[in-house]
């Protein structure tokens, strides 16, 4: 893939399209994900009813160079069902987070399929060396996905954050995968 900083990203998988958000994508369905407590619990963020203008400012703040807001769309319908955010630092390390907002797609391995394509893009096209994710300790589906994709749990930050659900302390896990590890995983040897 030929890509230059600032270009819109478009990554296809068998079932999904992962692409940069554009103005017209800031719709009621995207706003409704942010207002869904169960969706936001995965990120340990409180549900938030954003206005269209607030959401637009937020989404357009990603520059497609070091910060990406990538919609996950069902290829068959073109409908957005969730999103990734990606932040790249000056050490060629990228941090990602993912939200699948459309509950109809939960449990259908959307994250595994789309994150695999995203990792290909980050490692092969952008030359990133390490990708990390930091799920909280009760985000069981996220932990499942990181483990199944060959990430290593590098740290458990004990009682790192307050739970938005019950104000209890939550652990945070730091998962990471290096470029050569992903190469091995893709080959089926990792």
């Amino acid at each position: 893939m030929i890509w230059s900083p600032g270009d819109l990203v478009e990554i296809e998988t068998v079932r999904f399209l992962v692409r940069s958000i554009e103005r017209e994508d800031v719709t009621e369905s995207l706003l409704s994900w942010m207002a869904d407590p169960e969706v936001m619990t995965g990120l340990n963020l409180p549900e938030r009813r954003m206005s269209q203008a607030q959401a637009l400012r937020w989404a357009m703040g990603f520059d497609n160079a070091r910060q990406f807001f990538l919609l996950v769309c069902d290829r068959a319908t073109g409908t957005p069902i969730g999103f990734f955010t990606v932040t790249i630092d000056s050490h060629k390390t990228a941090e990602t987070a993912v939200v699948i907002g459309d509950r109809n797609y939960w449990g259908k391995n959307v994250v595994m399929e789309t994150r695999a394509a995203l990792l290909d893009f980050l490692f092969d096209t952008l030359g990133i060396y390490k990708v990390i994710g930091r799920p909280h300790g009760r985000n069981l589906s996220s932990i499942y996905n990181y483990n199944a994709m060959g990430f290593t749990c590098e740290a458990i930050l004990r009682a790192q954050m307050l739970s938005v659900v019950d104000n209890d302390r939550l652990d945070q896990l730091v998962y990471g995968i290096l470029a050569p590890e992903w190469v091995e995983k893709r080959k089926g040897t990792g």
Binding site: G107, N109, V111, N145, M149, A159, R169, D171, L173
Partner: protein, 86 residues
């Protein structure tokens, strides 16, 4: 590793398959039956059976039927493994 009937039953219920389909070759991500949703059911079932929340290291360890068996047969988590206080 020979799996106990309680491990097989717990996993079959969580993964929503028959007991005959549970063996140690099942792993997360390589079988359609062990999806993220069924994994959540499995962890919550384990916690219900053990009567406590699993520590992060224990949650991470659940990658096979034998890992489930080991958790069901072990003592409560050591303090150093327990993560945040529950």
């Amino acid at each position: 590793m020979k799996l106990s009937s309680s491990t097989i039953r717990l996993m079959a219920d969580a993964l929503e398959v028959s007991s005959e389909e549970i063996d140690d070759s099942l792993t997360p991500g390589t079988s359609e039956v062990w999806s993220s949703l069924s994994h959540m059911r499995l962890i919550l079932s384990l916690e219900e059976r053990l009567g406590r929340r699993l520590a992060p290291r224990e949650i991470i360890s659940v990658v096979s039927a034998s890992a489930v068996e080991a958790l069901l047969s072990k003592r409560p988590a050591l303090a150093r493994d327990a993560g945040s206080p529950r």
